[in-house]
Structures are given as structure tokens and as C-alpha cells.
């Protein structure tokens, strides 16, 4: 029993999961059973992959000890640049790859500037938030370019089959989430990410190329944000320059609610997903319960603070419980 309790206290994402179940039950009742109805779940599941992919990227970056505020802007810039490239006659696959390459360059610049000039990534990526948003609007020329009508949406955003619960974007999301979770917990590179964020000096003294590890995480984070933006634009059918505004903070909130530590070293992909699900459930649940939608941000704010306080408390309780050796 004691050991079970300790394991539970060590995993803040499980507390998030418990809260999610409670909220689902409350909103299910308050919405007269609409929340978990097929049509509603279908709608929420169409939105989930877009935000969850951003949250996964942000979580990995936060684990390695850095921060990215530019994801919301990159979310808009990637599909916009892809649309502009498409309109100049480049085929779809090449345009997507070019768009993702632009994201990778942005991630690289974020990381390089942060590490080379030893400035907090909070500042670097705040700058990039404005730069990437501005570029998005400039290249759009003020008018969102039209997307060709023959894009392979069957691969990204169509329902898996006629009347299915999930869109293809959900398959991409699950695949990427599994890969990201495996990267963090099963590979040596995941070990380096955790070591770099957990204690930079120690990782460096053990010969880990900490700067390279961080730059790769910055790039991964930007590419995931860009890919998420692509999914949203393919779903909506038009690259609006304003998409993703405020998403950077929701992604950080999702990561933190899911147990990721701002100081680095701690966090999981599963936690990021739970955090995203919680935010999406509150958003959707408040609307269905006919609560004024302006309370949404209030609820996210309270939840974020509560999550951090609860995590700190759980960590303290966990340390108090000494489990005897089982070997």
C-alpha cells in the first residue's frame, strides 16, 4: 500500500488523470449527457491533436531546461509559408517539407541565439514570437492565399473512414506521441535530455554535448508546432495569419498541469497529453454547461496554479515515504 502510494505521488500526471475523470463526470452531468456523446467527442478529438502536438514539443524542450514562447507564431508561419510555396507551383510534398524546414531553422535560431549569447530562452523566443508572427502576415500579403482544392487531406485531416470517431490527424498524433515518449524514456538521447535539464553542469562534466542536445530540442519543438499548424489549416481549409495566438501559453499550461517542471529535468509526454485533455475538456465542458465562455481562461489559470502547488506537495509527501528495498 505504502509503495503504491509513493508511486502515485511520484507521478503528477496520474493526479491530472484523476482530475480529468472527475471533470468528465461533472460536465457529463451538467451538460445533460452531451459531453461524452459521439458527435461532441468527435469534435473535441479533431482539435486535440493540434494542441497536444504543440504541448509535446514544449514539454520535451522544458525537460531539457529551456522554454519556447514562439510556438504559437510558428504554428501560423508554417502553413502560411507552405501555402505561399504551393501557390508558386511547388508540389505539395515538397512544400510541406520546405515549411517544416523553415520551422527547423527557427528552432535552430532560437537555440543558437539562446546558447551563444547566454540569454534566457524566455527572451529569445519572445522575440521570435513577434518575428515569426510578423513574417506570417508579411508573406500572406494581408490576404490569406487560397489553398488548392486537391490537397491530400485524406492523409491528414479527413475522418479515418466515413462516420469514424477520429480524423487521420489523431493517428499522426498517437504515432508521434508514442515516438516522443519512447525517445524520452527508452533511448540514450532521452537520458541526455533529462540529464541536461536536470543538472546542466553534471551532464556536461559527463561528456554530454549539452548545447547540441538543447538545440535539437528547440528544433523538435518548432517542427512539431509547425506540423500542428499544418493539421489545423488543412482541417479549416485556409491559412489564416492569426491562428495559434495564445497557443504558446496554453501549451506551457498543458505541460505544467501534466507535471512538467519549469526548472527542467522532470516531465512526461503522457503528462502533456493529460494536460491538453484537461484544457480541452474544460473549454468544451464550460460551453456545453452554458457557463459564460469567458470563464475558460479563469479556469485554466486556477488549474495551472493548483497543479504546480499540488505537484510540489506531492513531491514532498513522496520523499517522506521511504519504501524499503525490494532486492
Amino acid at each position: 500500500m505504502k509503495r503504491f502510494l509513493k508511486i502515485y505521488l511520484d507521478k503528477p500526471e496520474l493526479a491530472g488523470l484523476a482530475l480529468l475523470i472527475v471533470l468528465l463526470a461533472v460536465f457529463q452531468v451538467k451538460s445533460n449527457g452531451v459531453l461524452l456523446s459521439f458527435e461532441n467527442v468527435r469534435g473535441v478529438m479533431g482539435l486535440l491533436p493540434e494542441m497536444a502536438l504543440v504541448a509535446i514539443g514544449v514539454t520535451i524542450l522544458m525537460i531539457c531546461g529551456e522554454f519556447d514562447l514562439s510556438v504559437g507564431s510558428v504554428f501560423a508561419l508554417m502553413p502560411m509559408s507552405m501555402a505561399v510555396i504551393l501557390n508558386s507551383g511547388v508540389p505539395f510534398t515538397a512544400a510541406v517539407l520546405l515549411g517544416l524546414a523553415i520551422c527547423a531553422v527557427i528552432g535552430f535560431v532560437n537555440g543558437y541565439v539562446t546558447l551563444q549569447f547566454s540569454i534566457p530562452s524566455f527572451i529569445t523566443t519572445l522575440g521570435m514570437l513577434f518575428i515569426a508572427r510578423s513574417l506570417t502576415i508579411v508573406i500572406s500579403g494581408g490576404f490569406p492565399p487560397l489553398l488548392p482544392s486537391d490537397l491530400p487531406t485524406w492523409l491528414f485531416t479527413d475522418y479515418i473512414w466515413q462516420g469514424a470517431l477520429f480524423r487521420m490527424s489523431f493517428v499522426w498524433f498517437v504515432g508521434i506521441a508514442v515516438l516522443a515518449a519512447a525517445l524520452l524514456s527508452l533511448t540514450n538521447f532521452g537520458n541526455w535530455i533529462r540529464a541536461t535539464g536536470g543538472f546542466n553542469e553534471a551532464a556536461a562534466s559527463m561528456g554530454i554535448p549539452v548545447k547540441r542536445v538543447k538545440i535539437i530540442c528547440f528544433m523538435l519543438c518548432s517542427v512539431l508546432a509547425g506540423f500542428a499548424g499544418l493539421l489545423q489549416v488543412l482541417r479549416l481549409g485556409s491559412p489564416l495569419p492569426s491562428i495559434g495566438e495564445g497557443l504558446e501559453l496554453q501549451a506551457v499550461a498543458a505541460a505544467v498541469i501534466g507535471g512538467t517542471a519549469l526548472a527542467g529535468g522532470i516531465g512526461t509526454v503522457f503528462g502533456a497529453i493529460i494536460g491538453t485533455l484537461l484544457i480541452r475538456t474544460i473549454d468544451n465542458g464550460l460551453v456545453l454547461s452554458r457557463v459564460d465562455a469567458n470563464w475558460f481562461k479563469f479556469a485554466i489559470g486556477v488549474l495551472t496554479m493548483f497543479a504546480v502547488i499540488a505537484n510540489a506537495w506531492m513531491g514532498k509527501m513522496s520523499r517522506k515515504i521511504k519504501v524499503e528495498a525490494h532486492k
Binding site: N188, N191, W192, A203, M206, A325, H326
Partner: protein
């Protein structure tokens, strides 16, 4: 006479105009435990940073077991069998003991370009063994290093160095910030190095600690080695008078 395990020849180092190391020559034989003492800014840390690959000397050379080596990174130093344990501790508190033991040297089941799947079963089993080898009794290899006491952490760091068959263990003020009891534990580890056939370099401000655990005392001042005698042939007062 056996080949020295470490030989420094005419090492020089400048930091933006400050002459931090002036022609340092130091020979250390296998199995010796050398205490390196000196005031702040005497050059101890600079010498250690060169040996652990963090900095590179401006001139002079380092020989390991008679062969000239070029230590450009901590990884280079580890490859040549020189492992350093720092005062701030080279463990990541948010990671398990097993993961800490293998940071940067994870055993892989398969890999592409050096990236791959870790063999976690082997990591757990080997860390249990490595910890037992230094007479440290810990609950589980999955316990977080952050839950260990300062002395236990240094013990795990020493277990790590031994597990990777290091020839020389450099301990850079490992007893700072530790309680008396924990300090005794670390000194015990240092004394145990000889039995394991390891060479040790123990850097400390505390003469008592060095005299308790080392068989040779080397003192530095103003970037030079000013004193070098077997512990048995000197006293704390003599070294103190010099510094």
C-alpha cells in the same frame, strides 16, 4: 620504477592575462593517493580542469601511462581513464541511480549513429553491483539521486568511476557542504581507492581530510607547485606554514 600513470610536463595556462599555471611538472604513480592543497587561486582547479578535459593547456604536455595525450573534452579524459568528481556533485538529482550511473555511456541494445535503445535491465543490474562494490547500501537502483544524502551521492559517483574501470579518480573538493558524518564516509571511499588499485587525486581546503586519506601531499601557490612530500614525512603545520 613503474611508468607514471599521469605525467604533466611544463604545463602553462593563462586566463585573459592571468598566469594561472606556471611551468607545472607533476608525476603520479599508479596506486598513489595524492592530496592536492592550496589556497583559492593557487592553480589547483586549473590543473584539474586540464586533466579532466574541461580546459586545454596553452603549452606543455600531459602523458598518461607514458603516452602523450590531447585532452580536448571531458569525454577524452574519461576515455583515457581519468574521471572527475566535482564538489557540486556530478549526479542529476531528478534521475534514478541507474540512469545517473550511465549518463553519456548508456549500454545500447541497438543504435544508429550512436543513438539507440538503452539496455535498462543491464543498467539496473550493473548499478546494483557497482554500488555494492563500494560498500554502499541503497534501497534500489530506481531511487532518485535527489533522495540520497550528500555522502551517498559522492559514493554513487565513486561507484560510477570504478564501474567504468577508471585508472585515476580526481576528487575536486568532494567534502564541501557535507556533514561531519558524511565527510567521514567520503574519506572512507578515498582510502578504499588503493585497495581497488586506483590512483586518486584529492583536492581539498581541509588539511585534516587530506592528511587522513592521502599518502602524498602536493601544495600549490600562485600557479606553481611549492611542496611535494610523502604524508609520513611531513605534518599539517609544515604545509600550513608554506601557504
Amino acid at each position: 620504477m613503474t611508468t607514471p600513470v599521469i605525467e604533466c610536463r611544463n604545463l602553462q595556462k593563462w586566463y585573459s592575462g592571468v598566469h594561472a599555471l606556471k611551468n607545472v611538472n607533476l608525476t603520479i604513480h599508479p596506486g598513489e593517493t595524492v592530496g592536492l592543497v592550496g589556497d583559492n587561486g593557487a592553480g589547483k582547479s586549473t590543473l584539474i580542469k586540464i586533466l579532466s578535459g574541461v580546459h586545454h593547456q596553452d603549452s606543455g604536455e600531459v602523458l598518461i601511462e607514458g603516452r602523450k595525450v590531447d585532452l580536448r573534452s571531458p569525454k577524452d579524459a574519461m576515455r583515457h581513464g581519468l574521471e572527475t568528481i566535482y564538489q557540486y556533485n556530478s549526479m542529476v538529482p531528478t534521475m534514478s541511480i541507474a540512469r545517473n550511473l550511465f549518463i553519456g555511456r548508456e549500454p545500447l541494445k541497438w543504435s544508429v549513429f550512436g543513438f539507440g535503445l538503452m539496455d535498462q535491465k543491464r543498467m539496473r543490474a550493473e548499478s546494483v553491483q557497482a554500488i555494492a562494490d563500494v560498500d554502499l547500501h541503497l534501497r534500489s537502483p530506481d531511487a532518485l539521486v535527489g533522495e540520497l544524502s550528500g555522502g551517498q551521492r559522492q559514493g554513487v559517483a565513486i561507484a560510477r568511476a570504478m564501474h567504468f574501470k577508471s585508472k585515476v579518480l580526481i576528487l575536486d573538493e568532494p567534502t564541501n557542504h557535507l556533514s561531519v558524518k558524511e565527510t567521514d564516509k567520503v574519506i572512507g571511499f578515498v582510502r578504499g581507492l588503493k585497495a581497488q588499485g586506483l590512483t586518486g587525486i584529492f583536492i581539498s581546503h581541509n588539511m585534516q581530510h587530506v592528511f587522513q586519506s592521502c599518502d602524498r601531499i602536493v601544495a600549490m601557490a600562485r600557479g606553481e607547485i611549492v611542496f611535494d612530500k610523502p604524508t609520513a614525512a611531513t605534518s599539517i603545520d609544515e604545509v600550513h606554514a608554506l601557504l
